[in-house]
Symmetry: C2
Subunit: 141 residues, 2 copies
Amino acid sequence: MRLTSKGRYAVMALVDLAKFNDINPVSLRDISLRQGISLDYLEQIFSKLRKKAIVQSVRGNQGGYVLNKKANEIKLTNIFDAVDEKVKTVQCKKESKKGCNGKPTKCLTHNLWDELENHINDFFEKKSLEDLIKDNIERRI
Amino acid sequence: MRLTSKGRYAVMALVDLAKFNDINPVSLRDISLRQGISLDYLEQIFSKLRKKAIVQSVRGNQGGYVLNKKANEIKLTNIFDAVDEKVKTVQCKKESKKGCNGKPTKCLTHNLWDELENHINDFFEKKSLEDLIKDNIERRI
DNA sequence: TATATACTTGACTAAATTAGTCAGGTTTAT
DNA sequence: ATAAACCTGACTAATTTAGTCAAGTATATA
């Protein structure tokens, strides 16, 4: 089980954005340089974030991106959801009609993976962008 | 983020083994048939489980595998550890000397992934094979 | 002792996924 | 006008996964 870097980058970029988000929009170029993420890849990620209304774009010279909600209203769930980062534990769920393994009943561990998914999603549900920023400032002091 | 099927199969197979583990050892062939997992793949998995002393093999005719510990002493952590299923959240950890992104400091979200890892490992640490079997019996009633 | 059953090991491979790159746009402040 | 910055879709190399395949070794039982 591993997290993909798309999800990681999305969170990193948004923390960066939130930190530097005062008067002017923040350009992807700046985020790219500060966080060491390829500009092209950032554009893909921000396109998705924009479609889910997490950020807003400002076009033209001196343009960039702005948060579309308050930092405490953006949960990790929202971010991961936007970039298609999902917790996929059970393959059995693909064929929803059948049970798992092609058998009519649930597989022996079906319940377990459900619980695990919930456990992880709880974590993502509770953490907001604001939490991350606070945590960041505290550690700097 | 997703769980690999090697980890899933390992858990499924062990639950199956624990259920049918009375007097005789359980053959991989039986597990394969009951759980719909390829025999060859099961052999790979059980080889690892044996090396970590989670199961014991009984060779020869009528042979098979037996649990090497009590079901309540086998935690999910142990199983996942045996088959190399790990929770890998942060790539930054690879180059331990440096911080993340090749920079000397930790990346903005380093702490977050640490917390997530702990959160998930907690879950695996608490669940034992016995819990899974109980859960299974209860749902059947 | 023959032999079938079952474990054991290592090498190999096809498919899927990821982590980007690349090219060619469009929009708009200055 | 033009440069900065967003926007989009297609493409690709590397990695990982989920197995398969082949060639054994060990041993209970007839």
